[in-house]
Subunit: 211 residues, 2 copies
């Protein structure tokens, strides 16, 4: 956990977090040494402990802050939008824009889940679950309203989030397509994916397989 | 590069690769020590050098072998299938089944690209590009034939591959849905995604934005 510190201290803690993101992104959590981290922010190794209990609490702080921020901003963006199709489009656009800007954080949040202690991992997975539920509940509502044709809202949720998150793997600012154009293209794939006839085919196949 | 060794040696080299996959998956490439790796396969650290020049060449060997195997098996699966829709479905099914079975390899191939030397990275990215082209060429052929409605085949390729690869992040054998059912559901999302009306909307929007 981050310790209680004044406003200068808060700036230093933030600098440590930023340096931590960069080093973990580049080398991986286990390989990052506290000596390296301290050097990056111009502190002695021993001084780090004024700001963070240990390396594990720094990782937890980074990943939790990322997931909590993602969740809070998504909830704010979707507030007041009730129509499932409008919510789906808003969620997709939000997720894409957020992930085009926070590639290192996203990489760490996905990859270093393995390095979190059990309690920390459970808390992060809980936040992620709440985030996924924003989409899953929207898909269920749209399916009930007959707007979406999807056999398995949970599987569709995972599939859509993976697709949208993947933009981190290749997007670089200043490319041929603008962020707006990429949002249009990806959102188009998502909307068609959950409204097309195959969603029902899959449901029928599954029903047949279970019968 | 793996050294030239006899058949016992080949078995040992394979055991080293397997242990390397496990350790890198768990700890990250930089954090894995050769001492750890040697202990895992019951060798002295010094003996590893009979099989691999160094840690970097082991990583390259693991990632290259994975990408080459993925590419070769995909090419074999798609051989003789000319119809774009049939090729798209075959590609999706192949990718899903492969990725449900090789989670650790996939994780490493995606995450430890950062740890490869420039030359090694270029070779792996080249193999990955050839693999992506299998899908991109199929999407282009289908768009030309009027079967698919997609504005940007390259973007759609990245989007689809991310969606399908994401199954690694949550799939566990023995769950409620069988592999066949998951293939149906994901493939349905892909097919609807590239045949629905939004693909053209995105193209029209882009055209308007550029006009």
């Amino acid at each position: 956990m981050a310790r209680t510190i004044g406003s200068n201290g808060a700036r230093t803690a933030e600098a440590i977090r930023q340096a931590g993101v960069t080093l973990i992104y580049r080398h991986g959590y286990e390989a990052m040494s506290l000596r390296q981290l301290a050097a990056e922010v111009g502190l002695q190794s021993g001084s780090l402990y004024k700001y963070f209990d240990n390396k594990q609490s720094l990782l937890f702080d980074i990943v939790r802050e990322h997931m909590a921020d993602l969740l809070a901003k998504a909830e704010a963006d979707l507030a007041g939008i009730d129509d499932p199709m409008a919510r789906l489009k808003a969620f997709s656009a939000f997720h894409l824009r957020y992930h085009m800007q926070r590639m290192a954080h996203v990489f760490i949040a996905n990859m270093e889940i393995r390095s979190l202690d059990d309690d920390h991992r459970a808390m992060v997975v809980g936040l992620r679950r709440r985030y996924e539920n924003l989409l899953e509940d929207t898909l269920r509502a749209g399916a009930q309203a007959g707007v979406f044709r999807i056999a398995e809202p949970k599987v569709a949720t995972y599939a859509i989030i993976s697709m949208l998150t993947g933009i981190c793997m290749w997007y670089r600012p200043g490319g041929r397509l603008s962020q707006d154009q990429l949002v249009d293209i990806y959102t188009g794939l998502v909307v068609d994916g959950v409204t097309g006839p195959q969603g029902l085919t899959a449901a029928a196949e599954r029903h047949r397989a279970l019968a």
